[in-house]
């Protein structure tokens, strides 16, 4: 935190919140709503961050105690499904926004925890959405939590899976289409940019002390240079956390 926060504060100070708000006002409807919300959230976040970094920004959790809210959870993820480019990891920032800032299902550190949990568990790491759904339903008890978890996972997978089935059946016809080529080549660089933004977002959400940030950077390097299973990195880092070397 000592290492990362000055950097991000710098970024936040360079772009004053008022600039963001006026910029957002100039942009069309749907876009500006999101922008204003995040701009003000991050501005207040920056103000309090200096005092207590792990402080949860105040917002009322959207409770899941009736079917209407469950439908809302599922609708949110259904709408995102087709935007999961580059293997699904591009959605991580959006997951963070939805579950921490918009609906307040999770605190930032809980988000970091469930992300790590999904990475460590066997199977596709995109099952994270199930844990987000579980967090949304948790205040209503484990039964609701499980229902909401299955609903969220189903919602995020259904549209993209159906599209994939259609794509498999018609691949021969579309593989030489200019649309496919332009899509593949054009969306690649955007995916690259999003993945860097996602990495920084998770690093900031993890919000550990300086040894923790050093461990993060070392793990990043080792992921690129070695073929070691990431479980080893998690085990060693978990040990360092248990010993109190890494904390948040």
């Amino acid at each position: 935190m000592v290492l990362t926060l000055p950097l991000f504060h710098l970024v936040l100070q360079v772009v004053a919140p008022s600039d963001l708000a006026s910029l957002a006002a100039a942009l069309p409807g749907a876009l500006s709503h999101g922008l204003v919300a995040t701009a003000s959230a991050s501005a207040s976040g920056a103000a309090t961050a200096a005092a207590a970094v792990s402080q949860v920004p105040h917002c009322d959790p959207v409770r899941l105690n009736d079917l209407g809210h469950l439908v809302q959870v599922m609708g949110t993820f259904l709408g995102l499904s087709l935007f999961s480019l580059g293997g699904g990891n591009t959605l991580l920032s959006e997951y963070h926004h939805i579950s921490v800032e918009q609906f307040c299902w999770l605190t930032p550190s809980q988000f970091a925890d469930v992300y790590a949990l999904a990475e460590a568990a066997p199977g596709p790491s995109s099952m994270l959405v199930g844990l987000l759904g579980m967090g949304a339903g948790w205040p209503e008890g484990p039964g609701w939590a499980l229902l909401s978890a299955y609903g969220a996972e189903l919602a995020i997978l259904l549209p993209s899976t159906l599209l994939m089935v259609v794509a498999c059946l018609h691949w021969n016809r579309m593989k030489d289409s200019p649309w496919r080529i332009a899509f593949e080549r054009g969306l690649g660089p955007i995916t690259l940019g999003i993945l860097f933004a996602v990495g920084l977002k998770i690093l900031r959400t993890a919000d550990t002390n300086t040894p923790g940030v050093i461990v993060s950077l070392m793990v990043c390097l080792l992921m690129l240079r070695t073929r070691l299973s990431p479980l080893w990195f998690m085990a060693v880092a978990g040990l360092l956390g248990g010993l109190g070397v890494i904390n948040r």
């Binding site: 876009l31 699904g88 469930v114 089935v165 059946l169 690649g188 660089p189 955007i190 940030v213 890494i246």
Partner: protein
């Protein structure tokens, strides 16, 4: 254009599985598909799923030729959705159409997701314990490093494409500094990038995946 080889259609897989001579093994039954995908999911404990599915589907069980598998990987990466899950859909649909896709998907997800739910329930019940929280603080630092490496992993393939690097940098700035949300970002930047990369002169020449 030379790579336009005998890439078989997954759609014909259901009726004409015998048509793939490079595949020595008979096509898997639905049950074998389920077990195979389960095997992939649990082998890839902690990452590397697509390498594992290649090892299991192509090398160990010999259901598909390497080319068929790589075609599937291209489709899985191109279309939205998690790569491994799309890959399971491809492998399943290749042999048994929609039914196969669902069975393969179930194999890939059912047990791992149930296990994750157990982890999740344990986490939400216990995470307030100080000892658990301390260990998690460390694990989270490692996970953040893994997240950070995702961008660097694919950076290399764009090294010689300055336009791609500018597009990526602009995307990063839009999200990081201006907090533009993902959906409007993709809807605005996507068509612009597609227009720039639209194949010209009828010579499709996609970069290597």
């Amino acid at each position: 254009m030379t790579e336009r080889r005998t890439t078989p259609s997954p759609s014909t897989g259901a009726e004409e599985t015998a048509m793939h001579p490079p595949t020595p093994s008979p096509p898997p039954s639905l049950r074998e598909l389920f077990v195979g995908m389960l095997h992939v999911a649990f082998s890839a404990f902690g990452g590397g799923l697509s390498a594992w599915s290649q090892r299991i589907v192509v090398e160990q069980r010999r259901w598909m030729s390497n080319e068929e598998f790589l075609t599937g990987l291209t489709v899985a990466r191109l279309f939205p959705g998690p790569n491994q899950i799309n890959m399971a859909v491809y492998v399943g649909a290749f042999f048994h159409g929609l039914r196969g896709a669902l069975v393969a998907l179930a194999g890939m997800l059912l047990l791992p997701f149930t296990l994750l739910m157990v982890f999740g329930l344990a986490y939400f019940s216990l995470h307030t314990l100080p000892a658990i929280d301390r260990v998690l603080a460390g694990v989270v630092a490692a996970a953040a490093g893994m997240a950070l490496s995702m961008g660097f992993k694919i950076l290399g393939q764009y090294r010689r494409d300055p336009v791609a690097l500018v597009l990526a940098a602009a995307t990063l700035v839009a999200m990081e500094v201006f907090h533009v949300r993902l959906v409007p970002l993709v809807l605005v930047a996507g068509p612009l990038a597609m227009a720039w990369y639209w194949p010209r002169g009828g010579l499709p020449n996609p970069p290597q995946a």
